[in-house]
């Protein structure tokens, strides 16, 4: 699998690590309650098919990237930088 980093271009999957569903960009408020936090931390749509995930270009430019790809065929449809004003990298 090759992933196109918006900064570095197409790179081998080995340069990246995955954080999981791009849900990590939707951090709930501190006082949102246990159900919201449980959903954010643990529960997943976990689709067999098109999925948006958060990847980290660990041995490249260290960018956090939203990768839209297919979890069955591993085809990558789209990559974009994770929004700069989120806590994705924390």
């Amino acid at each position: 699998m090759r992933i196109t980093c918006p900064i570095c271009g197409a790179r081998d999957r080995r340069e990246f690590t995955v954080k999981g569903a791009a849900l990590a960009l939707e951090r709930p408020a501190r006082d949102a309650g246990d159900v919201a936090w449980d959903d954010y931390l643990h529960n997943r749509d976990n689709p067999a098919g098109r999925s948006a995930e958060l990847w980290y270009h660990e041995t490249g430019c260290a960018a956090w990237i939203v990768v839209v790809r297919d979890t069955v065929t591993h085809e990558v449809f789209e990559t974009r930088l994770a929004d700069g004003d989120t806590e994705a990298g924390s």
């Binding site: 999957r13 569903a21 246990d34 995930e53």
Partner: protein, 417 residues
């Protein structure tokens, strides 16, 4: 049809013409007391113990493909009870005891071989951790023996003991650990369930779960609607998809775990050897193939096949630990889809919908759990109360934070296991 040595001899001398199919390939009826979704090891064991322990025989097992065609046919066949944390410890102990009586109980040769399992350690810190684990196993009533370097060398002389990065200092020996013939476990439970009246329905994919006012009423399938008082979801690998049919989101991410087998060799590896630091473990099958595996591919996947970086890593780890296997030729590799939970431990629980029960989240440890999982799941479905041995496998532990079972001690988040 009963199996015995005499019968095998007689059939062997008369052209093997007297054998009959081991189970009935049933067509679905319109209604059952219990529908078990998933005809893998855990689903078949659940159906078997429902019939055997609880007298509930109006049961259908619905399998979308063929019986035993999922992870029960795609694993590395290891059976052990060497867990540390309360919850896992008593459960896997319970399961191992069921394994030890399984062949007699099922009258089926599952080739359970208690050849012993060895976990290696490489430094003082790991030795301390492994001593602690061994004590927990002994306290649970299972067996664990600490091997120093000399004792380990007598058992497994072929390791690279003086490896520069991971010198082997000793190991924890679990004599009752070992392997079993994976397919035979599915077939044995299938036969035992079928003999007691359970309908095993193949090529029957569940497409919907019917819920009426908070209570399950049946399932929709590719072979028609089936009503049921109770529905057990036992589909590890596809749990999220089936749970979605009941409007649930589970704390599960699906990952691929690879395994490999070499050409058949003369007997050379007598135990199960695990090299945790290299994410590598190995045993030798009865046909002679070296069966080994490593860690996850580390990104969500339903591909049932692995990626090359992980395959390379596993080969490198194998060569690091036991250079003698370097000339063995690899025959096959394959991947199974793992239900990964945030804390790395499974779920056997009610679902919040009355009459709908969940058995999922087996991570990379489902095979050894098969008898225990089926036994505890049947208890839950039959009595509506968890079995003591699986009482901690609760779905709500992630929301409440109480009773998390993070065996690796890495944290209870998806990306950490």
């Amino acid at each position: 049809m009963r199996f015995s040595g005499l019968r095998v001899l007689k059939e062997g001398l008369t052209g093997n013409k007297g054998w009959s199919p081991h189970w009935r390939d049933a067509d679905p009826k319109p209604e059952y007391d219990v529908v078990v979704i998933g005809g893998g090891g855990h689903g078949l064991a659940t159906a078997y113990y429902l019939a055997r322990e609880h007298g509930i025989t109006d049961v259908a097992v619905l399998e979308k493909g063929y019986l035993g065609g999922g992870n029960i046919g795609r694993n590395t066949t290891i059976v052990r009870a060497n867990y540390f944390l309360p919850g896992n410890s008593e459960f896997y102990s319970h399961s191992l005891k069921l394994w030890e009586g399984l062949e007699e109980e099922l009258n089926y040769n599952v080739m359970h071989s208690q050849r012993g399992l060895i976990n290696l350690f490489h430094n003082d810190g790991q030795r301390d951790a492994i001593v602690r684990r061994g004590n927990a196993m002994v306290n649970q009533g299972d067996d664990a023996i600490l091997l120093d370097r000399a004792a380990l060398r007598r058992k497994v002389p072929y390791l690279d003991f003086d490896n520069a990065r991971f010198p082997v200092q000793g190991g924890l020996f679990h004599p009752r650990g070992g392997t079993a013939r994976h397919d035979a476990v599915a077939w044995g439970f299938a036969r035992g369930a079928s003999d007691r009246g359970v309908d095993l329905v193949q090529n029957c994919e569940v497409t919907g779960i019917d819920v009426d006012r908070g209570r399950v009423t049946g399932v929709q399938t590719t072979r028609g609607a089936i009503r049921a008082r109770k529905v057990a979801v036992v589909v590890a690998g596809r749990s999220s998809q089936v749970a979605t049919m009941a409007g649930m989101r589970l704390p599960i991410e699906s990952h691929v775990l690879q395994a490999f087998v070499t050409e058949g060799l003369k007997p050379c590896i007598d135990h199960v050897v695990t090299f945790g630091m290299g994410h590598f473990y190995i045993s030798q099958s009865d046909k002679g193939g070296l069966v080994f595996g490593g860690d996850l591919d580390f990104y969500p996947s339903y591909a049932s096949r692995g990626n090359l970086p992980t395959a390379e890593h596993v080969m490198e780890a194998g060569m690091t630990l036991m250079p003698m296997i370097g000339k063995a030729r690899l025959l096959r590799s394959w991947g199974g889809i793992m239900d990964m939970t945030p804390d790395g431990s499974p779920i056997i629980d009610r679902s919040g919908i009355e009459g709908l029960y969940l058995n999922c989240g087996w991570c990379y440890g489902g095979f050894k759990a098969v008898p225990g999982s089926g036994h505890c799941m049947a208890h839950l479905v039959a009595t509506d109360r968890p079995h003591d041995a699986a009482a901690r496998f609760r779905l709500d532990r992630f929301r409440t934070g109480r009773g998390l079972m993070d065996e690796e001690g890495t944290g209870s988040q998806h990306s950490l296991h």
